[in-house]
């Protein structure tokens, strides 16, 4: 047993009764991250000075009886798209090496206020664009379940750090599936909240209309705790929602009896036999708890994928246009050649994409008037081998995670078991706008019913740590 085998809630209890100190926990986390990074490349940079100072501050607050919330004293990692004061936000790019942040990103600020401990910045795809691209300034993160298979991206390093048992929570961004895809392939929980639920201030943009920030976590309850701290209005992000934040923890254990779950058959078009079986098994388990499960009809994957491709490329090119003209050779080839296609879109194409987006989102809202959550898959199958070329925009293989960025609804990837080759399989749940509470409740039931938490993480030579409480 290691420290990371305890949930965030358990660690919080141990910290509060002083059976464990934040300093001890942080030191162990840094040591494990250092020891495994040569193999896994989860981290672009570790921040031992900042982490130990934040841990000491959390311990002082505990000693004074000050409770800053459920993340106090808990180590976490942040995708290297988020600014951390005094550290370069590299975005896994040669350009980013010079970009030292003068303030923390909004999400890091919220976690710091809540007493959490930032231990390092994690690997991504270049500017969260496309990958894996081996020709970058930093090495590719590797999947702890099998080093020769994709991690998925672009929040790769955060997923890897959790799957390797180094941290319980990592921050990610999701423009077309970048929280949920690596979560699916690395066996972590990945939550893309509703568009606007979590601030994007201080996060390097990819596509302003599609970008979301959220947590990857070891368990659904860890993700719920993280969202509780991350959610809320921020005047520094014009798209951030100014509304109440519910308590995500109080209903988590509630039964799903009577909950209406719609299986989105059109969104399963590209699922493998093993993934389809995992979705069907999940549906059966939810039925066994009293949920009402039935099929629903949504628009197809290609429609959603066509919208994401247009908005992501056009808006992404807008961010990088000058760099593309002046220093295209300093981009990785995957990013460069895909961004370079942006000029192929016309203004009427962009408006058609916006119109199609609204129509597709309205269609999903119609479906969500008949059910409480939608059940589908996160990825067609488990993590592919690194030898397979990724073709994210091939119309023959549209993404299963793009639809939720188009509609802006909250979505969560939940691991449900291992496939025949021993790699994680996941399902995806989609909730109503700003109803993460119901989404997390159903996800928690799926996690419990499938027994995912009883499956051991891959062995990456973590050390147990002295005096780990049982």
């Amino acid at each position: 047993m290691s420290f990371a085998d305890h949930s965030i809630a358990d660690l919080g209890r141990l910290l509060r009764r002083r059976a464990l100190s934040a300093t001890e926990l942080t030191r162990w986390t840094l040591e494990q991250a250092e020891a495994t990074n040569g193999t896994l490349h989860a981290f672009i940079s570790l921040l031992p000075e900042r982490a130990m100072a934040e841990a000491a501050a959390a311990d002082r607050a505990f000693a004074s009886g000050i409770d800053l919330g459920p993340m106090q004293g808990i180590p976490y990692a942040a995708k290297d798209l988020f600014d951390a004061k005094g550290v370069a936000t590299t975005c896994q790019s040669k350009f980013g090496l010079e970009a030292v942040a003068d303030a923390d990103a909004g999400v890091i600020e919220r976690l710091t206020t809540g007493g959490a401990v930032l231990i390092g910045k994690t690997s991504t795809f270049e500017y969260a664009l496309y990958g894996p691209d081996p020709d970058l300034a930093f090495p590719l993160a590797r999947n702890p379940w099998n080093l020769e298979h994709y991690t998925g991206g672009s929040s790769s390093g955060s997923a890897v750090a959790i799957a390797a048992g180094l941290v319980r929570m990592g921050l990610g961004t999701d423009t077309g599936g970048s929280i949920r895809t690596p979560s699916s392939w690395c066996g972590t929980v990945g939550l893309k909240p509703t568009f606007g639920r979590v601030t994007r201030r201080g996060c390097f943009p990819l596509s302003a209309s599609l970008d979301h920030c959220g947590p990857l976590a070891r368990s659904v309850s860890d993700a719920a705790i993280a969202l509780q701290v991350l959610a809320g209005h921020d005047a520094g992000d014009p798209d951030c929602h100014d509304g109440p934040v519910p308590n995500y923890l109080e209903g988590l254990e509630r039964s799903v009896a009577g909950t209406r779950v719609g299986i989105a058959v059109p969104l399963l078009e590209t699922a493998s036999a093993e993934t389809l079986a995992a979705v069907e098994r999940t549906a059966d388990l939810l039925r066994s708890e009293g949920a009402e499960v039935f099929e629903v009809a949504t628009p197809d994957l290609l429609s959603f994928g066509s919208v994401v491709r247009a908005l992501l490329i056009i808006e992404g090119y807008h961010v990088h246009e000058q760099r593309m003209r002046d220093r295209i050779e300093d981009f990785g080839p995957l990013s460069a050649r895909r961004l370079a296609l942006a000029p192929a879109y016309s203004a009427p194409d962009y408006l058609a994409a916006l119109k199609a987006r609204r129509l597709l989102a309205e269609a999903v809202s119609g479906v969500l008037r008949t059910c409480d959550v939608i059940l589908c898959a996160t990825t067609p199958g488990s993590a592919p081998a690194l030898t397979q070329e990724a073709t994210p925009f091939d119309p023959a293989t549209p993404s299963m995670t793009n639809p939720q960025n188009v509609m802006g609804n909250p979505a969560i990837s939940v691991p449900v078991g291992l496939d025949s080759s021993g790699l994680p399989l996941a399902v995806q749940l989609v909730g109503r706008l700003f109803d993460e509470a119901t989404l997390l409740q159903v996800a928690h039931a799926v996690e419990r019913l499938t027994g995912w938490q009883q499956i051991e993480l891959p062995n990456v030579q973590r050390q147990p740590g002295q005096g780990v409480p049982a």
Binding site: S306, I313, I328, A340, P343, A344, A353, F393, R432
Partner: protein
């Protein structure tokens, strides 16, 4: 599923004109793959216009995607 359009001389000329107009210098080794992805992009664009043209009414495209939708 239709296959991407096979590159024709006109198709390649269109592509070259776009890159020239955008002021982008494309490495020769990227070109073949980019032409395939350009063909796929044109299919995606056709999908977008097909969906958009099915809607007879004017839509408010300025509101955030989370606004104005009823789910309960």
């Amino acid at each position: 599923m239709k296959e991407p359009v096979a590159p024709s001389p006109d198709f390649e000329a269109d592509f070259d004109a776009l890159m020239r107009r955008a002021g982008l210098e494309i490495k020769p080794e990227w070109r073949a793959r980019m032409l395939v992805e350009y063909a796929q992009l044109r299919m995606n664009v056709a999908v977008l216009h097909d969906i958009a043209n099915r809607c007879p009414a004017t839509l408010n495209l300025h509101q955030p995607i989370t606004s104005g939708r009823i789910e309960t």
